[in-house]
């Protein structure tokens, strides 16, 4: 049995190592995009398409703004940068979008009327249109020329275009480059890979770090890629700092209590085998390991170190205790602990949440490996470790336990009033100050901003879709005028629906042609044989703002600079075919769903564990045992709320770990014989301390998810440990 276990352990380890090595050949197999934790949503194909289009626009975009007084040096820098970034990002070719657009639209001028012109013509005031055109032609600074006036004597087209361009951005083209004012050159890049890819990030960082802008040129940058990169770097920095601190703490704790390095080495073996097997098994099922799964997987450290503590504390003070005796002393609670935790994790694996599944598989397989290591390998290599004597330092007086436990309940009750859930995904986006400053500068200069929303407009026909947009546009104009949004883009801004184009044709032919035109031409000094307005051409949307057209009957509308004051849902009331796409809100909602689901899973896990324990201990004792971790799980979120913490998906995930570890404490206390209770509590205390060092320190992280995780563990483990001493063996004596 022992040998078989050792063999299984060794073989598993080798297989997992091979898998890890294999995956590493295809690149660094770690996923850092938080969104990868989320399930692949079942979305309608057009919604998926819309999201992909928006992602291209927003996430895969990198913006660099160059400031300098001299256009030539700006241009040189822009050319140089774009050349160096060529392999990872291509500069967006804007050309002169609007000149092209204008050329395209001009032929359809009789079908395109500005709102003012339409109003005048509907009121029968052709004289107003004529006067406005004359005023413009007579203006000393008129940009009209003979050719333009001959083709459009009422200047209908400039009026239309000017009205349409009112809400466009403040950029212009100069020598093929996009300029904002005179001294800012704007470069908009499209990344060729995911901004979350380490390779893309490293490449861009390499180029920008090695790039020295000449005197007088300042470079500002923004984009998801920079935030993602900083996030990873910060994560790694913190991981090494916090990991280092906790490692030192755990080493000191070991040396202090056991006065030997051997327990440490044993722990190290159990942990390493756990992590290797966890990662290996995960990588069999998944191509990449998620960073969060890894952090959680590190939870194994907490648990498998506990096993070592219990092993080393076993048989304390017994002369001639063999390794086998030690194992026999702990095998029952250890096995129950592993089985219960694994059951809990397996339930987690049943969720459709890829992130949770990875965590479950990682934890479950790693835990079993560590368990095998403790019971099969330790006896083979242990050369007499263990406590020489036990002090009562870790044994809490029952009264104290009650007092502390009572305090926890009171704190939880007090915190209940402040308890609040928070699923806002934007909390996950950590915004480092320097990047934020650059971003806000770019925003200020370009008036581009992040508060972009997209609407999806669906209809039966092209005309239907354009017509809906036409009805929305006046509402958007009003909202823009009132300052609730800075601008918008819609195909119907440039392409009126067929209905409206025909109406415009009619308005033009009824009011502006015939004798009215003759009169107007005469005033201008043009011969009356001019036929300026073709009434047989209808403009189609193909080729105009193509990026907003998913198909003929599905269009996007883009709202820029949306203020909180704008209730988009209210705006859309009554528009059946129009929906808002708010990715942040959609993801937040998913977070909420999974937060709730994670809690149900914990409840279900409790149920399964209770059934398992009841079979072995009987209902009453199983209930007492389970009460310890359940108390911790229930009170922790409320106590955290007292400190202003909100309850998120990550807190819920941490509660699962609290359940697993808390149950171990309870099992070991409960299984301890009367004369062994002190030593078991020493092991429990050391487990709790090391878990707090390994996890509790995460509470100091700046990354929200990690912080939430750490805080929950810190509080939950403390409560579990305190309550576990209530299970001291007096109760068992009555059995």
């Amino acid at each position: 049995m022992k040998k078989a276990g050792a063999l299984i352990w060794g073989a598993g380890l080798l297989v997992c190592l091979a898998v890890i090595l294999f995956r590493f050949q295809g690149g660094f197999p770690v996923e850092t995009n938080f969104l990868a934790l989320l399930p692949d949503e079942e979305q309608s194909p057009w919604m998926e398409q819309a999201n992909a289009r928006i992602n291209d626009e927003v996430v895969n975009r990198m913006v660099i703004l160059l400031r300098g007084e001299d256009f030539d040096s700006l241009k040189t820098v822009a050319e140089d940068l774009s050349e160096r970034l060529k392999s990872v990002a291509s500069v967006q070719d804007f050309e002169d979008q609007y000149t092209q657009l204008a050329e395209k639209l001009f032929d359809y001028r009789a079908a395109l009327l500005s709102p003012q012109e339409r109003q005048w013509l509907q009121d029968g005031r052709a004289d107003k249109v004529s006067q406005r055109a004359l005023a413009q032609i007579m203006s000393p600074l008129g940009f009209t020329n003979a050719d333009m006036i001959r083709n459009d004597p009422y200047l209908l087209f400039p009026a239309y275009l000017n009205d349409r361009l009112t809400n466009q951005s403040a950029t212009k083209m100069k020598d093929g480059w996009l300029m904002v004012g005179e001294d800012h050159l704007l470069l908009v890049y499209q990344l060729k890979g995911s901004p979350f890819s380490r390779e893309v990030q490293e490449n861009i960082k390499g180029v920008l770090d090695g790039f020295v802008a000449p005197n007088g040129v300042t470079l500002y940058k923004t984009g998801a890629v920079f935030y993602a990169q900083q996030g990873i770097e910060q994560g790694m920095e913190e991981a090494s700092l916090i990991g280092g601190l906790s490692l030192i703490g755990i080493i000191l704790l070991n040396l202090l209590v056991f006065r030997s390095v051997q327990p440490l080495l044993l722990s190290l073996l159990a942990i390493t085998s756990g992590v290797v097997v966890g990662a290996g098994v995960c990588l069999i099922f998944f191509e990449k390991l998620h960073m969060m799964a890894f952090v959680f997987g590190a939870g194994l450290i907490g648990i498998s170190v506990d096993y070592t503590f219990h092993y080393c504390c076993a048989s304390t003070g017994q002369d001639g205790a063999t390794n086998r005796m030690k194992i026999n002393e702990i095998i029952r609670p250890l096995s129950f602990g592993v089985i219960s935790s694994s059951l809990g994790f397996l339930i987690l694996a049943m969720t459709p949440f890829p992130g949770l599944r990875q965590i479950a598989i990682f934890a479950c397989s790693g835990l079993i490996a560590a368990y095998l290591c403790v019971i099969c390998i330790y006896p083979l290599i242990d050369r007499g470790t263990g406590l020489k004597s036990v002090w009562g330092w870790a044994t809490l007086d029952r009264n104290w336990s009650f007092i502390i436990g009572g305090c926890a309940v009171l704190l939880a009750l007090a915190g209940a009033a402040k308890f609040h859930v928070d699923d806002d995904v934007r909390r996950l986006q950590h915004l480092p100050a320097d990047l934020s400053a650059e971003e806000s500068y770019i925003r200020k200069v370009t008036q581009l901003d992040n508060n972009t929303r997209f609407l999806v407009v669906r209809g039966q026909s092209v005309d239907d879709v354009l017509g809906m947009q036409e009805k929305l546009i006046p509402l958007l104009d009003k909202a823009q005028h009132e300052g609730h949004l800075s601008g918008y883009q819609s195909v119907a801004q440039f392409v009126p629906s067929r209905t409206r184009q025909l109406e415009n044709h009619r308005l033009v032919s009824d009011n502006l042609l015939g004798p009215t035109l003759m009169q107007h031409l005469q005033t201008l000094g043009l011969s009356p044989d001019v036929q300026p307005y073709p009434l047989d051409k209808l403009l189609k949307p193909a080729g105009i703002l193509d990026e907003l057209q998913l198909s003929a009957t599905v269009h996007l509308m883009r709202l820029d600079g949306v203020q909180l004051s704008l209730n988009v849902a209210d705006l859309l009331a009554g528009f059946d075919g129009v929906e808002q796409i708010d990715q942040a809100a959609a993801i937040s909602q998913t977070f909420g769903t999974y937060r709730a689901r994670a809690l149900w899973m914990i409840a279900l896990a409790c149920g399964v564990i209770w059934v398992f324990l009841s079979k072995n201990y009987g209902v009453k004792r199983a209930s007492c045992l389970l009460a310890v971790p359940v108390c911790a799980v229930v009170t922790t979120p409320f106590i955290a709320a007292l400190f202003g913490e909100s309850f998120t998906l990550f807190n819920a995930m941490a509660l699962l770990l609290v359940l697993a570890i808390g149950l171990d404490y309870a099992l070991f206390s409960h299984e301890a014989k009367q004369d062994r209770f002190s030593q078991v509590m020493v092991a429990n205390a050391m487990s709790a301390l090391s878990t707090m060092m390994a996890f509790g320190l995460l509470a100091f992280s700046d990354l929200y998810a990690i912080h939430a995780f750490g805080v929950t563990i810190l509080i939950g483990i403390t409560i579990s440990f305190v309550l576990s001493s209530l299970l001291r063996p007096q109760e068992q004596e009555s059995k």
Partner: protein, 184 residues
């Protein structure tokens, strides 16, 4: 002070020689006068004629009030150009949409304030003496699509001629120009 200015002007106008430089507008002063504009469009039967009054200060820009054939008003400043017909805004253009506007605004400001040195330096042209006054001809670089701009004047700017590429031409003639202190 007003008297002094007048006397100075009088003195200057007496002593001015053909090659002397025109008056410069001081801070806070307003230039007012009448104008007649003829716009020649290539292939059109006759020029489009308009006339009215104008007012210029360096701070607020040019206020161009056409009276015939009908009343319109145009205000050109750094911020762009706004046109009103019957008191209703009918056109608003900002320089970032029509970069040529900045060039025109600059030429107007420099010539109306009499900052000829800057005009000469900027366009590498020099004032030429002609009979009864002076003339400056140049081709603005940058965004403005003009073939040539010719400024003619004596004490003040008297005529502005802009030639455009397609054979169009604007001739603006100023008269009754006078400078007043801005109202406090």
């Amino acid at each position: 002070m007003r008297l002094l200015t007048l006397l100075t002007l009088l003195f200057l106008s007496v002593s001015v020689q053909a090659q002397e430089r025109p008056t410069q507008l001081q801070d806070g002063e307003t230039l007012r006068g009448d104008f007649t504009q003829l716009r020649y469009l290539n292939g059109f039967n006759h020029a489009i004629k308009s006339s009215g009054v104008f007012e210029f200060t360096e701070e607020t820009g040019l206020d161009w009030q056409t009276q015939t054939p009908f009343a319109t008003r145009l205000i050109v400043s750094e911020k762009g150009m706004v046109q009103y017909v019957d008191g209703v805004e009918t056109l608003k253009v900002t320089p970032d949409k029509f970069p040529a506007l900045s060039t025109l605004h600059e030429v107007l400001t420099l010539s109306m304030t009499g900052a000829w040195d800057q005009l000469e330096a900027k366009y590498q042209a020099s004032l030429e003496a002609i009979e009864g006054g002076w003339q400056l001809t140049f081709k603005p670089d940058g965004e403005a699509p003009f073939e040539a701009v010719t400024l003619t004047g004596a004490e003040y700017l008297d005529q502005l001629v802009i030639r455009k590429p397609e054979g169009d031409r604007d001739e603006i003639t100023f008269s009754n120009q006078h400078v007043t202190k801005a109202r406090p």
